[in-house]
């Protein structure tokens, strides 16, 4: 089998890692939490880093009027289906397609990924800004606007007594590496096509 096809198939299959490993993690450090609170985000669920962390994050957040982290969100139904379809599609293309289709798959995956990140950002924004009018504590930014408590999309940010870390986890690395392989498969495939011609 051609190298490009193998790369494409393996790259697509690596996405299956998302069904096993968390995609993202948010960790909250504070003086009172020497063992930080944390939450792993999978494509289909939120999971405590340590048992009861989400319950305790909610308890912390209620002081500033934030909503509870929901048990589930609609995305948890959509993401697994989308990823599943892309894996099957990627493998089929890998077997029967050519390098142009490889690129098309990669571009589609990039669009889906961006959409996913945007969706995640919107959820975070809402989570950090949709505050209860009866919030126990209200904080204002220096410019007078209401302080939001949105965790960072990527990176580390201080929010009151907490330091919030938001970073990709193993699942995301499977995704990145998988996508990279499919992208590489396009160039390899192109070279192979040239060599044949």
């Amino acid at each position: 089998m051609k190298k490009s096809k193998i790369l494409m198939i393996v790259g697509s299959l690596l996405l299956l890692g998302l069904f096993v490993f968390p995609l993202w993690n948010i960790t909250l450090e504070a003086p009172q939490y020497p063992i930080p609170l944390g939450m792993d985000i999978y494509i289909n669920k939120f999971v405590d880093t340590h048992e009861f962390d989400i319950k305790n994050i909610n308890l912390m957040n209620h002081y500033v009027g934030m909503q509870n982290i929901p048990e589930t969100i609609p995305e948890f139904k959509i993401f697994p289906v989308a990823i599943g379809i892309m894996v099957v599609l990627g493998v089929i293309i890998g077997f029967f397609g050519n390098h142009k289709l490889f690129l098309a798959w990669f571009v589609l995956m990039c669009i889906l990924g961006t959409a996913g990140m945007y969706d995640f950002y919107m959820w975070e924004y809402n989570y950090g800004h949709n505050l209860s009018p009866k919030a126990i504590m209200n904080f204002k930014n220096p410019d007078g606007s209401v302080m939001g408590f949105q965790p960072p999309l990527f990176g580390t940010k201080d929010i009151l007594n907490f330091t919030a870390h938001s970073y990709p986890r193993t699942g995301a690395y499977f995704l990145f590496v998988g996508m990279l392989l499919t992208f590489v498969s396009f160039f390899v495939g192109k070279k192979e096509a040239k060599a044949k011609a």
């Binding site: 063992i35 009861f52 308890l59 209620h62 002081y63």
Partner: protein
């Protein structure tokens, strides 16, 4: 008598001389104090190397310290009520202090001993005896809570307790005061021959630690002072010191000090166990309480048991022997190999050490010197391994470092003496301040001592600390015993009066220490697992409040429809599932303590309002930034009032059932 007096005088003078030497030493230590400070300094955020469990003596409790820092972490309530933790006040814990004499709010806790497997500390449980109303408690070392208390019938002054055998097959409880058996109304001066001393073997379930009296051995009416199990070769035997073999019943300080030698009773418990397993012994009516705390229901139950299996020494020939030991021996300590049994004759000029192998040989060769109540007395010379000559005055207790050395406390000459097993030579002596009782080396009464530190527990402190009126603290003093000579590093005050202690490496306990109780595993019959299910239920004049607490409110927090004369049960559940977020509960005028409730736990207080009005209740543990807001009101109306029973949170009224 005169010669004793003379020798006492000589040794007193000697000890004064030695004492002043000691002072010289302490000055030298002064120059090294920076060094000592470093060795006991545990920097902020760092951990101690060992746990030390010091008995609280007349406080009835067990205190948890760290070594080498000497910092106090927790006082575990065992035999005495503790209003801080609602122990003995909450409905759930009252049964723990039940006995055949009814509810008893206090005892005198003495000798903690950590469970062992193959003679080594395993860190699962710690046992401790209540001396006054004889009981043995088992404390769980994952929750650091008292899990079980068993009363010892036919016993009084439960002092030669609570030592565990090599695999924690048994925890043993011996009576210090002999009493009539069975108890009866009789003249006290008919003590001799009529009083008995019960030695109780309590079987420990290897899976869950549950205690059950296997048998009681009815010994002659001596005082059974202290004990230790055999280990290694001597595993299967138990040794008890006795005094008052004179069987005096009055002015014991004189009348029980007449015999030149008392005995160490050597009990082959394996042999007796076999006899019992084959149907031996006599089931005898009695009454004793067995109290068990269930961690799932967060509640204790007390059962009165009505039968105990009695064994008489004559039932099992060849199982019990007496080893003569000079002058009212106190401590009875077995070295890590199991070969040497140290009897600390508290009025003797030397420290007597018996040999287990010589004892077996003497038994085989029937080297007896008569008998006492049918129990063979072995010839003194036949079991003697050796004696530590002129060791000090008033030896009490001995522990071992696992390197062939023994360390003995001397109450009268106020010192700890290090000596060598086998050669019996004194290697070092250090003064302690003052009048030391017990000492403890972590694992120092097991096959595997951790011979790094020694803790001496002193009965008298006088001028050692800032004074606090006539009543001053007792103290513990920490020695480094890694070198040839002992070095005093630290002294620290203790709770109550520590009689003995047990130490264990922190690494064996800390990883298993519980952080919270899981709410989903809470099987308390009155648990309320969500705010939505909180409620108030009236049953005649009893009102049950199913209340929850979470940062930072109670649910419900407004209750109306209570009447004077009602008996209000607050069943309060802490809904938190976060480490170190307890909440407290207190209501004005309650004739009981606060409740201190750990995450996931339910506790119950009874409140009987006597006055009409609106009365507040609040959280007593500073739980959060909004702790001061964690409060509620309960409205009390006159008896027969028609104010309906309602309970609300934030105005959401729900009529009571």
């Amino acid at each position: 008598m005169k010669t004793i007096f003379k020798s006492l005088l000589v040794i007193t003078v000697l000890s004064m001389v030695l004492g002043s030497c000691g002072k010289g030493d302490s000055k030298k230590n002064g120059a090294l104090s920076g060094n000592a400070a470093e060795r006991v300094y545990v920097a902020p955020g760092e951990y101690d190397e060992f746990y030390a469990f010091l008995s609280g003596g007349f406080s009835g409790q067990l205190a948890v310290y760290g070594l080498p820092s000497g910092r106090l972490f927790k006082v575990i309530p065992v035999f005495s009520v503790d209003p801080e933790k609602a122990y003995g006040f909450s409905e759930e814990t009252k049964p723990m202090l039940n006995t055949s004499h009814g509810f008893i709010p206090w005892d005198d806790s003495h000798h903690p001993d950590i469970s062992q497997t193959t003679g080594e500390l395993d860190g699962r449980w710690i046992f401790i005896n209540g001396n006054n109303t004889p009981r043995i408690a088992r404390i769980d070392l994952t929750s650091f809570e008292t899990a079980e208390i068993i009363e010892i019938p036919n016993s009084a002054g439960n002092h030669s307790s609570s030592y565990v055998t090599e695999n924690t097959e048994y925890v043993v409880a011996g009576t210090r005061f002999s009493i009539p058996y069975p108890q009866k109304d009789m003249p006290i001066n008919e003590y001799k021959g009529n009083f008995k001393g019960a030695l109780t073997f309590i079987a420990v379930d290897p899976k869950n630690g549950s205690m059950d009296i296997k048998f009681q051995l009815m010994m002659p009416g001596f005082n059974y002072d202290l004990s230790h199990p055999g280990r290694g070769a001597s595993h299967g035997w138990f040794f008890f010191t006795t005094y008052n073999t004179e069987e005096a019943n009055s002015l014991l300080e004189v009348n029980a000090s007449q015999n030149d030698k008392d005995y160490i009773a050597a009990i082959n418990w394996k042999k007796i166990e076999e006899y019992v397993n084959n149907g031996g012994g006599k089931k005898t009516p009695t009454k004793y309480a067995h109290n068990v705390y269930n961690e799932e229901t967060h509640s204790a139950t007390s059962t009165i048991k009505e039968e105990v299996l009695i064994i008489n020494p004559s039932d099992v020939p060849g199982a019990i022997y007496f080893m003569p030991t000079p002058k009212s021996p106190h401590g009875c300590d077995v070295d890590p190999t199991g070969e040497y049994i140290v009897g600390s004759g508290k009025l003797a000029a030397e420290l007597t050490v018996h040999s287990f192998s010589k004892m077996i040989k003497a038994i085989d060769e029937k080297k007896f010197d008569g008998d006492a109540y049918g129990i063979p007395i072995l010839q003194y010379e036949a079991t003697l391994a050796g004696a530590v000559k002129q060791p000090g005055l008033g030896p009490l207790h001995t522990e071992f470092d696992g390197k062939g050395n023994a360390y003995t406390t001397f109450f009268i000459s106020s010192e700890v003496v290090k000596w060598k097993l086998g050669t019996w030579e004194v290697i070092d002596r250090k003064p302690v301040f003052y009048s030391v009782g017990h000492l403890m080396i972590p694992g120092g009464n097991s096959r595997k001592p951790f011979g790094k530190y020694l803790v001496a527990m002193n009965k008298i402190t006088k001028d050692r600390y800032l004074s606090t009126g006539p009543e001053v603290t007792q103290s513990a003093q920490l020695f480094d015993i890694t070198g040839e000579k002992m070095e005093m590093l630290l002294d620290f005050p203790t709770i109550g009066e520590p009689h003995y202690a047990a130490g264990i490496p922190a690494s064996m306990i800390m990883p298993k220490s519980k952080k919270i109780y899981k709410l989903e595993e809470n099987k308390h019959p009155y648990a309320t697992k969500s705010e939505a299910t909180s409620k108030v239920v009236r049953k005649g004049n009893e009102v049950h409040v199913y209340m929850t607490m979470i940062r930072s409110h109670f649910a419900p927090d407004n209750i109306e429809g209570i009447q004077v004369g009602d008996k209000v049960f607050f069943h309060v559940t802490n809904l938190e599932q976060d480490y170190d977020v307890p909440h407290g509960f207190a209501v004005i005028g309650a004739n009981t303590s606060e409740l201190l409730i750990m995450p996931g736990q339910t506790k119950t207080n009874i409140w009987e309002p006597k006055q009409v009005g609106v009365w507040p209740f609040y959280c007593t543990d500073f739980c959060s930034a909004l702790h001061q807001e964690m409060q509620g009101y309960i409205r009390v109306s006159p008896k027969g009032s028609n104010v309906p029973l309602t309970y609300t949170l934030d105005g959401d009224a729900v009529d009571a059932e």
